[in-house]
């Protein structure tokens, strides 16, 4: 075991995956609390599929993956937010439409160019080898921005999440905060996608807040707990994936799921105790 751990830390790509990935996971969990409570959780799923399409296109054009995927996903996030607030097309239907279309486009592009090979497999399910130096630097910048935002404007974010009408009347721009959430969600998804895979990245946004909500009844408690859960589950999952030689994304999702079950059980016990 000790040997395994020291091995783990001797590979620089693993360290990059651990540092970059954990930071992305924490960011995802922090904004995930708001997204889940605002019923925008599916936007994360939609965006990851769009990200997949964009990455495939970037590969075909042999352009830098981030340079293509980031703007495309951010634009889509704004579009989806608009659609969600527009009653003519239901938000969930719009998301399903856009995500399956871009997924389909991505698969076609990949099969026309390189074929359904290892790259495809990595895109879909993630790889611990995929976190590049640029990705890690970007992850550090992203998490710094998110942390500063949370530190200084946490209460505004709470107000917008809890009650948009009231927040607006208090002079807090709900539109601005929704846009901020959209941009952060996009960047988080694009950065996290390499390790987690396009199919599974949205779990980083959804699982930790849901687990935290099982047990904690305050917004602060849920926010802090989901960040901690995200960190613990991601690093445990990454290490297990290395030890068991399994793809990183699925292992991290399963660890998160087990954590959700554990917290549900704690929550149930807590309720039982009170009754």
């Amino acid at each position: 075991m000790a040997g395994l751990i020291s091995h783990f830390f001797s590979y620089s790509f693993l360290l990059r995956a651990l540092i970059g990935g954990s930071l992305v996971a924490i960011c995802a969990a922090l904004i995930g609390t708001s997204l889940v409570l605002k019923r925008y959780a599916m936007i994360g799923d939609g965006l990851s599929h769009v990200g997949f399409g964009a990455l495939a296109a970037a590969m075909a054009l042999s352009a830098s993956p981030l340079a293509v995927a980031l703007p495309v996903v951010i634009l889509t996030a704004f579009l989806l937010l608009r659609l969600s607030t527009n009653n003519r097309i239901h938000g969930d239907a719009a998301i399903a439409m856009i995500s399956s279309a871009s997924m389909a486009a991505g698969v076609i592009v990949i099969s026309l160019t390189s074929g359904l090979n290892t790259d495809f497999y990595n895109f879909m399910f993630g790889s611990i080898l995929a976190m590049s130096r640029t990705d890690m630097t970007l992850s550090i910048i992203l998490s710094f921005v998110v942390l500063v935002l949370f530190l200084f404007s946490y209460n505004n974010l709470f107000a917008v999440t809890f009650d948009e009408s009231f927040a607006r009347a208090s002079g807090i721009s709900a539109g601005f905060w929704n846009a901020v959430l959209a941009v952060i969600a996009s960047v988080t998804i694009v950065l996290g996608m390499r390790v987690m895979g396009a199919i599974l990245i949205s779990s980083l946004i959804i699982f930790p807040p849901l687990s935290a909500m099982r047990l904690f009844g305050s917004f602060k408690g849920v926010t802090v707990a989901s960040a901690v859960i995200a960190l613990v589950c991601f690093s445990t999952g990454l290490f297990l994936s290395y030890a068991l030689d399994l793809p990183a994304g699925p292992v991290i999702v399963i660890v998160n799921f087990l954590c959700f079950l554990l917290f549900s059980w704690f929550g149930w016990l807590k309720k039982l105790k009170r009754a």
């Binding site: 409570l37 209460n155 505004n156 809890f162 009408s165 009231f166 208090s170 002079g171 009844g217």
Partner: protein, 300 residues
């Protein structure tokens, strides 16, 4: 007089289609205005306008200088996603103070004090650490009213606050609003479908039907033709809303609406109100006084 708010020929439009046409009224300190009207009569739009979230397409809204539009104590309709929201009562009430902060939102000691007073005023201080999602409908509405109080600088704006509450809880809620209105000199604007109940508490009525059908005192409204036709739509027609009820020995209201026990008997009215608590001297004000220009009640 202490005119707080005046609407001069105010109209609102969506896509150049006028939904509220030429509303004229003025409110004074301590007034309790009920806005009534059927669905689609423009009540919500007018409310948005009063909050400064929608600009009038014509006319103007004149606010007294001391009335910052951000410091209106607003109680919006509850949304379904709030029902299972993990937030403590304290967190919710404190968020009422955010209108005093900008992008950087740290609560000051004053904010904590104000929200503690608001919680006490509505008897939810005992629930401060409880999670909002564990509360009953009536408790939630009191918490949101506490948030509105914490936010408010003397004007409360309530949007159908008793929707979905059972009659007894609604009745209790009306009693609280009336106590805040009378004891703390808060000006109240309430949109309500629950017309019979509101009639008992409100001092003024604005009846909307896309345009202004009536504005005046409740007394005059009850004599008006508009009221007669509107009230007769309801099933429990009562042209005499001042049912001399109160609370039965077993605690149930003797009529289904917001008729309450005499105010003197309510424990809440003995507590120092939010607005009087803003007073640096911290002195309480005697009941039955008039409201002065700065929102305090004058002794006498």
């Amino acid at each position: 007089m202490n005119k707080l708010l005046e609407l001069k020929n105010v109209s609102f439009a969506y896509d150049r289609q006028t939904v509220v046409n030429r509303v004229n009224f003025s409110l004074h300190e301590g007034d309790y205005l009920a806005i009534v009207g059927e669905n689609g009569s423009g009540k919500t739009t007018l409310l948005q306008g009063l909050l400064g979230l929608k600009t009038p397409s014509a006319g103007e809204i004149v606010r007294r200088e001391t009335l910052n539009r951000l410091q209106v104590g607003y109680l919006p309709q509850q949304t379904p996603l709030q029902r299972d929201f993990p937030a403590t009562v304290r967190e919710v009430v404190l968020s009422g103070r955010l209108n005093r902060h900008g992008f950087v939102s740290f609560y000051s000691r004053e904010d904590r004090k104000a929200s503690a007073l608001a919680m006490e005023r509505l008897s939810v201080d005992g629930l401060a650490n409880r999670s909002y999602r564990e509360l009953s409908g009536g408790q939630r509405q009191r918490v949101l009213l506490a948030r509105a109080l914490a936010a408010s600088n003397g004007l409360l704006l309530l949007d159908e606050p008793t929707a979905g509450l059972d009659p007894i809880v609604a009745h209790e809620f009306y009693r609280l609003v009336r106590a805040i209105n009378r004891d703390d000199c808060a000006t109240v604007i309430m949109v309500s479908h629950d017309i019979h109940c509101v009639m008992h508490d409100a001092t003024h009525v604005l009846h909307l039907g896309r345009s202004q059908l009536f504005f005046g005192t409740t007394e005059d409204y009850l004599k008006s033709v508009v009221a007669a036709s509107y009230l007769s739509h309801g099933e429990t027609v009562s042209h005499e809303p001042a049912c001399e009820g109160g609370i039965d020995a077993d605690g149930t209201p003797t009529c289904g609406c917001g008729v309450s026990a005499p105010l003197e008997e309510t424990p809440e009215s003995d507590k120092g109100g939010r607005f009087s608590a803003d007073d640096p001297d911290g002195h309480r004000h005697s009941r039955g006084g008039r409201c002065s220009a700065n929102g305090e009640k004058e002794r006498g």
